[in-house]
């Protein structure tokens, strides 16, 4: 038995917001793969639940008239892997989804939950960061649109009010069109593991020049991060070996990994720079760039 004190099932997003307003101690539960485990562990703060599991309004994957890709927060990793639209427009998210947990977890765990729990190791976080994703939140005072980089406030802390529901992820056409991406998860095991380092990159190449680069990491800092200094330093440069070497050396200044039982800070730094090389090389090649 999960030690719950109250449980309410929401029939819609508005209903969920109402239920959260009615009980200031309540929190939403979606896939449950984090919340139910925390409850079982006896962690506090999860004993009043508002159930948004499989709420149809949160499970859509579509493009708006202006080309914006909209992914519902309740979309599971399996749904993301199987979605033709995601595979076509942002295959980086399909790749990242494949690395999450095992089949049972991917079948129920949601991308919204992966982001809202605020952990730095979330496999969907760095790809969504690289895509400049905007989060749509609904609450009693209406809609809020928050860029994902601003959503993370600290380890396990995100910018969502107790009465708010994360409804969808929005990725504008300008942020995916013409970009090539890749996500690499470095972990101790090939499945059922948490990333030691996760690295996501997107790039755009014209006439063998790097016209844009977005490099994001998980577990390289207390929250998922973008390497903005590195990006700014190399955008516009011609693609060659020196460029890769420059990225590899710059990236260390953008990150701030720590030592845990999983890996030491020094080891993580090594993986971070090695992955910048491998992942950036791969996206440049995907984009048709030639590294001479």
């Amino acid at each position: 038995m999960f030690p719950l004190k109250s449980y309410e099932k929401a029939e819609s997003v508005d209903h969920a917001i109402q239920l959260l307003q009615d009980n200031p101690e309540a929190r939403p539960i979606a896939g449950g793969t984090d919340v139910l485990i925390r409850l079982r562990d006896g962690k506090t703060g999860y004993d009043h639940l508002v159930d948004i599991h499989q709420l149809e309004a949160l499970r859509q994957i579509k493009t708006d008239e202006d080309g914006t890709l909209v992914i519902g927060s309740g979309v599971t990793f399996s749904m993301a892997m199987e979605s033709e639209l995601i595979r076509e427009i942002i295959p980086i998210l399909s790749t990242a989804s494949e690395t999450v947990g095992g089949p049972q977890v991917r079948n129920v765990a949601t991308i919204g939950g992966n982001i809202c729990n605020g952990v730095t190791s979330a496999d969907s976080a760095s790809p969504l960061m690289a895509l400049n994703t905007v989060l749509q939140l609904e609450g009693p005072r209406g809609t809020r649109l928050v860029p994902i980089a601003e959503f993370y406030l600290g380890p396990g802390k995100v910018d969502i009010g107790q009465q708010e529901i994360l409804v969808s992820f929005r990725i504008g056409e300008k942020d995916y069109k013409g970009y090539y991406g890749h996500y690499h998860k470095y972990a101790m095991r090939n499945a059922m593991d948490i990333a030691t380092i996760g690295c996501a990159a997107l790039c755009k190449i014209e006439a063998n020049q790097l016209t844009d680069l977005r490099l994001a990491y998980g577990v390289a800092a207390p929250v998922p991060i973008r390497c903005t200094n590195t990006e700014q330093a190399v955008i516009g440069k011609p693609v060659n070996r020196d460029l890769i070497r420059e990225i590899e050396s710059l990236v260390e200044k953008d990150v701030n990994p720590r030592t845990s039982w999983r890996a030491s800070k020094e080891f993580r730094l090594q993986i971070i720079s090695e992955l910048s090389n491998r992942v950036v090389t791969q996206v440049i090649e995907k984009a048709g760039g030639r590294i001479e």
Partner: protein, 156 residues
């Protein structure tokens, strides 16, 4: 805190009054009386509690019982029909993929999901491994399980 839920278990319709705090595993084992699905870890790590919910493989230990409302659940007990083992079960027996047997009910459901998903597709041993990565076996070393899955794919 109770709720009435209606669902089918291995094709049989049930209407149950469940405590909303229960997991699907609790309800299957303690109310329905089907003890095939096992609790190994209770936290979604081992897959011993795997069942199919609308043909999707889930860990029933971290799946709320109320979520089963309106759904169709399949457990290892339903795979043997009219005294005849399913092709997956038969292959497990023939390949010696069962030792202590604690993991087997969960593995059989994972393999059943695999078989149904890949029956008309090409697949590799890596696909088998990846789709069974959520199930842990401490006895067999997995090789015989993979062979059993391969054999089951050749049968109806």
């Amino acid at each position: 805190m109770n709720k009435i839920i209606t669902f089918t278990v291995n094709g049989k319709k049930r209407e149950l009054n469940v405590d909303v705090r229960s997991s699907l595993l609790d309800v299957l084992r303690e109310i329905v009386g089907m003890t095939g699905a096992k609790e190994g870890c209770g936290v979604g790590e081992c897959g011993a509690c795997s069942v199919l919910v609308d043909d999707l493989l889930v860990d029933s230990c971290i799946y709320m019982a109320v979520w089963a409302d309106g759904k169709s659940i399949r457990t290892v007990e339903g795979e043997c029909r009219d005294g005849k083992l399913s092709s997956v079960q038969k292959s497990y027996v023939e390949k010696g993929a069962v030792q202590c047997g604690f993991c087997t009910p969960g593995f059989v459901m994972a393999s059943t999901a695999f078989k149904e998903r890949f029956k008309d597709k090409t697949f590799t041993r890596d696909d088998i491994r990846r789709e069974h990565a959520g199930n842990i076996c401490r006895c067999t070393g997995y090789e015989s399980i993979i062979e059993a899955v391969e054999q089951s794919m050749e049968e109806d």
